[in-house]
């Protein structure tokens, strides 16, 4: 399998866990055009789920207004050893996920 599209970093900050993630994705709005005038079809992430130990922490519904290669960061009350999982889904039914243990 190719390299994961997700880069996930977790950090313990006095009882609250900081989660930072970068996703490699074109995030096309459907408004842009190629040089020859053809429209580039919309292709963007619609759903990002962040879970810790199987419990949902945050769900993000995104649109084409999110930048290319999106970044997301958040904090939650957790502890070291938590399994943080991020998964995304786009409007072309592609998806990816990555799990990481908080150190």
């Amino acid at each position: 399998m190719a390299k994961s599209t997700i880069k996930l970093r977790t950090k313990d900050k006095d009882g609250s866990i900081q989660v930072k993630a970068l996703i490699t994705h074109p995030m096309d709005t459907g408004l842009r055009r190629k040089k020859n005038g053809d429209k580039i079809p919309a292709h963007y992430i619609t759903e990002v789920m962040i879970e810790a130990n199987g419990e949902s922490i945050m769900m993000a519904n995104w649109t084409g207004s999110i930048s290319k290669n999106p970044f997301i960061s958040l904090n939650y009350a957790g502890a070291k050893g938590d399994k943080v999982k991020l998964s995304w889904k786009d409007n072309m039914d592609k998806s990816d996920s990555l799990e990481k243990t908080v150190k």
């Binding site: 709005t29 842009r32 999110i66 960061s73």
Partner: protein
């Protein structure tokens, strides 16, 4: 591929339609299912708010938008939204001058802090409007961002 997705939508649509008429699904569930398509269709801020069912919003100083005053590149504008209102369950980011203002919705879980950071695209100088849902009430705050170079193509 196109035909397949069309068929899928058609089947789903007819199934939900049948379910509504037979009263199987409450209108709320249908609303949630169709959320995304409807919202992204909204071409103006008012329209998006209307679709979301936001009727009365109170301006709140407890919502903080952290964003640059001037963004040189509209394709990547980092915006952080923090809500200090207790019981915050949803944060919606709207970018008023974009072709589709509805940008993102964050559903906050019980353990998470009501603070998110993402990077947005902005077509031109615009207001970023944050709408926070807490205890079934809506609160709002906005921040103006000057964009020198648009990020939505065109």
């Amino acid at each position: 591929m196109k035909r397949r997705s069309f068929m899928k939508t058609a089947i789903v649509a007819s199934a939900t339609g049948a379910a509504i008429t037979s009263g199987l699904i409450s209108s709320n569930a249908v609303f949630a299912a169709s959320h995304e398509k409807d919202f992204t269709k909204a071409k103006s801020l008012d329209e998006a708010m209307k679709l979301m069912g936001v009727t009365d919003v109170a301006e709140s100083e407890m919502i903080k938008i952290k964003a640059p005053e001037i963004a040189e590149n509209g394709a990547v504008v980092p915006v952080g939204i923090t809500s200090e209102i207790e019981g915050t369950t949803e944060i919606v980011a709207l970018i008023s001058n974009n072709p589709t203002p509805y940008a993102a919705k964050y559903t906050i879980g019980a353990k998470a802090k009501a603070a998110v950071k993402s990077r947005f695209k902005m077509a031109k100088t615009t207001d970023v409007v944050a709408i926070v849902k807490a205890n079934d009430k809506f609160y709002t705050a906005k921040s103006n961002i000057k964009v020198t170079k648009g990020g939505c193509g065109g």
